[in-house]
Point group: D2
Chain length 412, copies 4
């Protein structure tokens, strides 16, 4: 074993990769603190703690950050209608800064000079992790084994890891690995790699974990009433059984349950990584999909057209910042504060029907909306003078007439 | 009857409103040419011709512009992924300039000084009609009865129209009118007004015409392979039965059929009219919805990330221009040419599953894509040096570290 | 005289036009309250008051709103680096909402149902005035004589006004009118109309009022140090004589004096009016021009690159909103609050040299800037690892290489 | 000497740095081809050739690419009104891809596997060089000595280079180096580093090379008429002496001469490098500054308002792409083609007065402009109905009134 190099806080998942990394780091001469974020993934944290200690971790920190994840990261994304490249609801991207923030806090508290993670060298997650770390703790040093030749040349495939594991007493998985990799949290699961790397291949049936296959989901909808205040859901009521959910985490879990039951939130896309390559990802985001639709609706109902347009352009930037790993950046702070500012009056109730993979908005109401039923009515004139529209249209046509004049002259 | 005032080309629908307008215009002293655009709506054009002539139209023009509508208007919207306020696929907005263009052409050919339409004074359609007319024929005069006090004060409701119709031998509808108004074309049907004006009211079952209720649609999907070239669909194959459709109109009609059968394309939204009021609209856009998803996918697969981003910002403007009635404007011409330019390499095949109101992308392939399976692979290093990412991340963190430095100094 | 129609608050300038309007409004049966805003124009307000009363105004309100204009309108524009179509610093646009706000406040206080102004029917100012009035007092009725056929057909030219004036005892100007029209306030003077309508005509020498002809201005510069806090100037020191100015109005007047002395702030442009026509305007904005350059500089020095970019896009919208008359709109409120938010750390001192129509930035300093002299130094390595740049560049080249690969394949 | 490693094409400037690099590369075992781009800098190319050969270059290529630089790089920037962060006209940024393109062409032709340059590891130029190389020749390998520890640790300062030069027979400069570094081409000179790194320091008198000090420049202007076609200058006429210049290069050189004589084009800014740090740069861009103002003017005169706005947003992206080194990228190709498309009708003549560091636009004319003198006239009604503006304003006020209604309700 090499000499003592210092202490590293490792983002530990309990799986084969980070277990090998834990042992490898010790082998390199580091003291290792294992850090696990409970961000809603399906995991036996007690077992994982034992495993980490057995592998030689000096300490193990397991933190339940599900509530913080919902309120501090998912809610701002809901307010923004955040979506990357028109389709991806950013489930993984939102989790990373939440996880990494705690990791550097532990590093600070424990006086560790290093942090480490098991993200690959081609992906977005390495960037999201590390930019968060550098932004919050500029002096931190990062060990990314999958980018280090001495590591990746030694572990060229899963069999190398298995062999290493056996040699070092790391428990190896007994069930065969899926021919793809997945990442789970409260908001979503992503599937990529392996057989999914061929973008033509269909997702195998049985891949999806969080949502039911729509052909097998119920053929009667659940109808939910979702209440928003300041752009954030504060209550969800199932109109079928009258059940109601209020607190952020509980409400989000309930939406996951209903959406999952109806197969809502599956997408299969090719996206552009920050690093510049196209990748194919399959995602399921059950609750997030319902909230995306419901928030779009209440926002459209209560927000001025022009404010909405400007807010939309900010949300485009926000989505890209989050995807690229810049949650903790001056620009993302700025944009978040602007978006939050836009949500003051985004308040009211939206009713949605959830069925067979779809979310249908049925109606909406708000205590203070900009919708004026009398003004818009086809049957009532209201406070509106139709002849004003003639002037409006003619003034708008001035430019077009001038352009026509010019075009005619040019053609002559 | 007043004295001869000249000739007016009236956009005639065959319905009660424009029949009354036809007679009323004659009453005011105009010669009336009735013009009907076959834009894919469900209508007996032969009957309508007879009716118009019976009511005193000097001439009747009925033009089949379905192919032109698909190729000249819907295809550019597909290329753009055009969507207004994140949800509306612009079915009505795209039809208006197509219709109005022919109307002014008839006016020019027939030497008519006037055009007229039956659009209301609060809506978007009046603007879309008239801006097209002014842009293409600046000297045209427009008669918009629903904005003229002498007309709208006389016809304060449907009963006034019915009474007028009876008095002037205009055939009156025998079936009771739906308590909402609707507008149909090849691409979509919109429903608004009446009981839908209360944004809280759910759409009554039985409202939808083009799409089947998802609870009653088949529980087995149709799987389609849609082939694009230059961003435009050139072939649709149903993988279940092997049937294939090529020509623009035929292919579009087939997609309408499949999407309609599976209940695809329903939305219920509150939107912002150009005129500044919020309105509630319910739309069904069957084929358009499939194409929206399929084109998004093939574009993401074949277009560079940064080009995509810029093209997306142009498409936002395009959607707004189209919604507001500015199809024939210098800015829309400019944006269309830029978007078309972006589609040169958008070529390939997308497979989608259509089921219960949903369109699922299953996979895609392209002769020339920017997707590089080896480069992105988790298992192969390919032409990629992982350690480069370390430099990339550290350089990207420079700004964040400086910001942290500044924030720390300020807090001191 | 017609019967009593109610009370109108007239934006009165003291000149021939609004004097005629005052009398004409009385003739139409209105009680007229004359309202004059002291917004920094060169005017004898005492004389104007006498004149208005002599012409029959029921009351005269003269309000000094120079300080409010500077702090409430010019400062937000400085923070935004507001500029319309790359050149116009919005001097008139900013003054209108300030003036109109007080006008409707008087109308409310005095129970007047009407407001009136002398703006033409082709310009921007009518819109800026009226949108402000409608936004702040939706029930207000507006009398715009220059858009009323009974008025503009009666007064077809200046000679008609002169004749009317003579007939009704309105004092007529004794000096011949300039063959252009001008509008002045604290921030700028605009010149347009008359001989300037031919865009090829050069501005006649002698046109400019606020600034010295650069060929006649001093050939030695004044060097100023301008200190900003939260993006707003808080002190100006002349380094030549050591004189210093602090309060907003005083400081702004001093910058006007120095800039005027050196011929700073003249532009001659063709711009696009909101109403859709192109117009030619000549402007001089002395203090505003210095502040534009100085603020740009201190902002670039203290604001993060990406925040700056986003703020810049908001400022583009702000400039357009202000130009078009939407100061009091939900979108402008929103954008102003975002921009203000961006200015928290925009603090420091900029030195500028003012000479012969030019403003040269000489240097800048800030208590907390994002500029890191050591980091950027060519001679010191600082906390920077040059080899990181290799990774940064190679990762950035990935997309470019893929594109090259694709292009080569296509050409084959 | 180490063993033979292959051939490298070195961007050779003739100065101390790249001379040392040339020798050092040979020392490392490379064959070196020296490549000099004549891009308009002040240089004795014959002497430089001799020097390179004397130092051991296997071949020397000197290429005059001044015309290509003007037509292929500066003209697109003029069309775009390209400007980075509101102030920098991109003189260096535009030259880099032009230079690097030829460098990789030589590498291809000569079968060299490597290219090399003398750019520092903290700057933008390394990126602009290398992204061009990778984009046009993905397999190329780049040697950037200033990012290689074995080089930069050996040459820690100028004295190390001097010593190395003496030892290896490299001629050393006899005049003392300016305490800053500079980079020159046809379009501009940049000054940075050394004493300029303190952003508070004023530029020393005597720094500027291309432009005369405005206090010493003539006090009588030159008046130029600049004619544009498709957004590009095709003729410059001096109205004082009637002299006229047509061809791209000749015309550009003449504008440099006139602008330089009058001290036009100096700026002192802090900018944001792509690499994430703020740097201070002083630039002089004489001809470019005149063309920027003239093109802005003719464009505003001939281009529709909304097209201009969209084109402006594209130009912002273009400027950033160019600054960051992405000239040869799919996105920059796309944006250039869109911008070029927008310039079809940008045609006409602008008159400018050049005096004491300033460019004043005096007037403009165009064969086909969108400016309609009659329409905009204050004295003629033209084809304009003033009362239309009432409707236009009232419709525009609808949203504002609704917002006021909402705000009032909330406050209750």
């Amino acid at each position: 074993m090499s000499q003592q190099k210092g202490t590293v806080v490792l983002a530990y998942s309990g799986g084969l990769d980070t277990s090998c990394i834990l042992v490898w780091l010790k082998e390199q001469g580091y003291d290792v603190i294992a850090y696990m974020a409970n961000i809603g993934q399906d995991e036996d944290f007690g077992e994982a703690r034992k495993k980490a200690l057995a592998l030689g971790a000096k300490k193990v920190f397991i933190e339940d950050m599900r509530k913080e994840f919902v309120e501090g990261f998912i809610w701002p994304a809901v307010q923004a209608n955040a979506i990357y490249e028109d389709r991806y609801l950013l489930g993984t991207s939102l989790a990373r800064p939440c996880i990494a923030r705690h990791q550097v806090e532990i590093a600070k508290k424990e006086g560790a000079e290093y942090v480490s993670h098991g993200a690959t060298g081609k992906g977005n997650d390495q960037i999201r992790f590390e930019l968060t770390c550098y932004a919050l703790h500029p002096k931190i040093k990062i060990i990314a084994p999958w980018r280090m030749p001495e590591f990746y040349n030694r572990f060229r495939g899963r069999s190398d890891l298995m062999e290493y594991a056996k040699k070092h007493g790391i428990p190896v998985p007994t069930t065969p690995k899926n021919p793809w990799s997945m990442d789970e949290n409260l908001m979503h699961i992503s599937y990529e790699g392996g057989i999914l790397e061929n973008p033509k291949n269909h997702a195998p049936s049985g891949l999806y974990v969080k949502t039911k296959d729509p052909t097998e989901s119920p053929n009667t909808p659940d109808v939910l009433e979702i209440e928003f205040k300041k752009g954030v859901p504060i209550q969800v009521t199932n109109l079928k059984d009258g059940s109601s959910h209020h607190s952020s985490l509980e409400l989000f879990l309930y939406l996951n349950e209903i959406a999952g039951k109806h197969g809502v939130g599956r997408i299969d896309i090719v996206e552009n990584r920050y690093i510049g390559m196209k990748s194919r990802g399959i995602y399921e985001t059950p609750a997030g999909t319902i909230l995306y639709h419901a928030h779009l609706d209440i926002e459209a109902f209560t927000m001025d057209r022009e404010v909405r347009k400007i807010k939309h352009s900010l949300a485009l930037r926000f989505s890209e910042q989050v995807y690229n790993g810049f949650w903790y950046s001056p620009e993302c702070e700025f944009v978040r504060s602007c978006i939050e500012n836009s949500q003051k009056m985004v308040q009211g109730k939206v009713r949605v029907s959830v069925l067979k993979g779809q979310v249908y908005v049925l109606g909406r109401e708000a205590p203070h909306s900009l919708y004026n039923e009398e003004l818009v009515s086809m049957d009532v004139q209201g406070d509106y003078e139709p002849s004003d529209a003639s002037g409006f249209i003619r003034i708008n046509s001035l430019r077009l007439k001038e352009y026509h004049r010019l075009q005619s002259k040019v053609k002559e």
